[in-house]
């Protein structure tokens, strides 16, 4: 496998993975942003995705992570807090990793985990008035290492 250097190669590599490996790759992306949230339900879901749990374990993890994403969202009309919003996106990323197939947009949990993890970083950048960390490049590296292992 050649080194992943761009979005097209990243998507192609993710699409080439079996579902269980997509969950594992997604877990890697979420772990990178996990410090942005303090929520056991989310951390637990990432562990299940990484270890490859039973259908029951995945369902329970999904329920917890999805509930967390709803708990962390910003209510319409409420004052937005981008730090909390980062947590919301981490929860969404974790939920994607353990979601049943019909619940994941584009059918690829790793891709959904990746884009939500990037939005979490973007949210932090907005909150801190800084420049967003190039999370996509970190994800290319993580996926490359995962594919080599």
């Amino acid at each position: 496998m050649a080194e992943i250097k761009n979005e097209a190669a990243f998507r192609q590599a993710l699409d080439g993975l079996a579902l269980a490996d997509q969950r594992k790759a997604g877990a890697l992306f979420v772990r990178a942003v996990l410090p942005l949230i303090e929520d056991e339900r989310v951390a637990g879901a990432v562990e299940v995705a990484a270890k490859g749990g039973s259908d029951e374990a995945l369902a329970a993890a999904f329920q917890g992570a999805r509930r967390a994403s709803i708990d962390w969202h910003t209510r319409c009309g409420a004052e937005g807090d981008w730090k909390e919003q980062a947590a919301y996106f981490v929860a969404r990323a974790a939920a994607a990793c353990v979601a049943p197939p019909g619940h994941v947009k584009s059918g690829n949990p790793a891709w959904q985990a990746a884009v939500n993890a990037r939005m979490a970083r973007t949210s932090v950048a907005i909150d801190e008035d800084g420049t967003a960390v190039r999370e996509n490049e970190a994800q290319y590296r993580l996926l490359g290492e995962f594919l080599k292992a």
Partner: protein, 424 residues
Amino acid sequence: MTDRAKIAINAFKEQIDGAVSAYLSSCVHCGLCAHACLFFNETGDPRYTPIHKLEPLRRVWWSEYTLFGKLALLVGLAPKVTEELLAEWQELTYNACSLCGRCSMVCPVGNDIAGMIRKQREGMVAAGYSPDGLKGASTRAVKIGSPMGVTWKAVAAQIGHVENDTGLQIPVDKDGADYLVLMSSMEIMNYPEYLEAIARIFSEAGVSWTLSSQAFEATNSGIQIGSSDIARELVSRIVAAAEKLGVKTVISPECGHAYTALRWDGPNLIGRPYKFKARHILEVLDELRAAGKLKTEGFEEERMTFHDPCQLVRRGGVLEQPRRLVKMVVKDFVDMPEAGKMNWCCGAGGGVSAIEEAGELKLTAFNAKKRQLEAVKPDKLITACANCRIQLEEGLEENNMDIPVIGLTELLAEHLVETGKAEG
């Protein structure tokens, strides 16, 4: 009489025009509006009867504009509008009304009850009887440009995120573009996939579009809290940006009341017609579909249904467009009972979602939607309003109903035929 009560009475008087007088004098006390209201239906609380919610406005109309009322006022027998009454009615006027307009549809004498609630809010807010959540949202909307405090800096960051993920360029402040795309703060904060979907669809359709750094926010807290002054200011910003850029059409996003504010209330608020067209995103997508510029491939395999946002369908008339669009990508589509014009509100419209203390009531109101969904048992639920979407997600979660919710624009983008001809 106290100053606040006086302020409210004067503001109510300004709202009582010929139509309101006709409505209030022709009410036959039939109670049909009660059973059309999800807040009454789901709680059984008679205080939530829509016409009863209008008691402060009705008292002013009766005592000021009817013969018997004037006589009663002279001898001190007219029921008074007091601070206590206004304080009690704040909850009925805001927390327990999503301005969904279902009551107006069933009134046998044609009273626009929801329209009158909107007018009553003018008096309530003038006298200081409006919820803190809506006051905060309105203040942020005026001062910052977004009810949720979203700044252009945040939008720019999201643009960068979308450009990075898609390889597309998001046009900003492009003079003479055909379309000016607005967003809601909810989409910017909670559903960034909306902007990505727009970018991909418009790129493939080859349409000329832009965002405006001067006016990106479509929502209008002035409409929700009931302040025409605030509503006018917010609409004026969009009008100024659109006319400066010289766009042909301004697109309201997947947000219900933003569409009402921009399309129907806006020209009246600013006192003149627009120099551009105002359309909802679903209207534009349907036009692209009809012109052969929106091409999709594949179908969803699951059974899906569509939640009609009240402001879009009942109050806005955008009924067939979403169904034509849904059927492009969903074979097993089923409408819920009472879908379309008589659809049940999600429970969080009209500013209810911004009122923290209304949290429990809006989830009780969701039970109407729950029953509609149970009747058709969909695998997925589609909607076209970010506020409805989050309320649906919360309600489904609260009721342990495992039904994912997706925005229609986003669903279409999932099935978009992408040739890679991409041009921002």
